[in-house]
């Protein structure tokens, strides 16, 4: 199991990098290099638009951690979470995921800095951040765009799915890297 997972992880990116341009050039006659450059330019505005969010959130998260407030919260929650195999440092990120994608991303980078991206916590944070989306933001944008005011059960489904993704990340990371 572990070997297959490692193999997929090691091969996924190189295979994609080789396959996409080859397929585009040979099968679809796409001018691949020019297209690549054109697309790459769009990367700048994307990153620039994340920057204010990350700066704002990282200031708040760093102040919260360095002041000792995070420690207090973790200390209070630890007896509850430890038996379940949930690292308490993970909880603030899990709580923020559905509300603010840049907020949970800020906590993830903070975890990378304090514990390292290859620590259990780092892998857990990476998996959780990648396996869910900012539910409340997505719902607001989509329903707002067509003037839907009654969302029925959509909010419930989205938030429950986020909970599932937290539990699933915990389970999968324990299983693969535990």
């Amino acid at each position: 199991m572990m070997e297959i997972v490692q193999l997929i992880a090691a091969w996924s990116l190189p295979v994609i990098i080789a396959f996409i341009p080859t397929y585009a050039l040979l099968m679809r006659k796409v001018p691949v290099y020019e297209t690549f450059i054109e697309g790459a330019k769009e990367g700048f505005p994307t990153v620039i638009s994340i920057m204010p969010h990350l700066v704002g959130m990282l200031v708040a998260v760093t102040v919260f951690r360095e002041s000792g407030a995070l420690e207090l919260v973790i200390g209070a929650l630890n007896p509850l979470l430890e038996p379940l195999g949930v690292p308490p440092e993970f909880l603030p990120m899990a709580l923020l995921r559905s509300i603010s994608g840049s907020g949970s991303m800020a906590i993830m980078t903070d975890i990378f800095q304090t514990h390292g991206p290859d620590s259990f916590l780092g892998k857990l944070a990476s998996t959780m951040q990648g396996s869910s989306d900012t539910t409340l933001y997505v719902l607001t944008v989509y329903f707002g765009s067509v003037g839907i005011r009654k969302a029925r059960y959509a909010v419930k489904v989205g938030l429950l799915a986020d909970l599932v993704s937290v539990v699933a990340s915990l389970f999968v990371v324990h299983l693969l890297f535990g």
């Binding site: 297209t35 990378f112 959509a154 993704s165």
Partner: protein
Amino acid sequence: MVNAIWVILLVSGVIVGAINGKMDLVTKAALDGAKQGTIVCFGLLSILVFWTGLMKVAEEAGLVQSLAKLIHPLARFLYPSVPKDHPAMGSIVANMSANMLGLGSAATPLGLKAMKELQELNPNKDTASDAMCTLMAINTSGLTIIPATIIGLRMQYGSTNPTEIVAATILATAIATTSAIFLDRWFRAGERRKGGKTK
């Protein structure tokens, strides 16, 4: 909600810092946090510029459409209330494909287009239809194959194996999306039993 969280993090940090007598650390933390945010963004530039470039090639090569063709039967099953030749079906599968390929910037406009087309089929214009709820269930559960931003951040923080989490992410997202689809159907059935609206 974000407003409240931001203020709570900052204010509780400052208050706890004052109680602990760590005001100098709090000042330093605020400045460090801002610096960290900037550094992270510059680090992200490298991988995201490369990735959006590569994904543009994938888009031009029609890989979104190829994937869309592949998942069309699945979409028919997920959206029984949408007529199979309705334009909404095309936008729905395109949105799903773009999401799976990690083409976030392409997925959102396609999803909004699907939403608009579903609204044409919707008898109650201010209430979400069944198909809209399903579209939201799938879009909020984060279906991805390659989490490029996260790989980039892991690289930046010196991970020895930044792509190590790819398989774990795919597994977790598959579980979450499947559950979202199941929950969507389940709540809808519950609504019907209570004699709620049917369309």
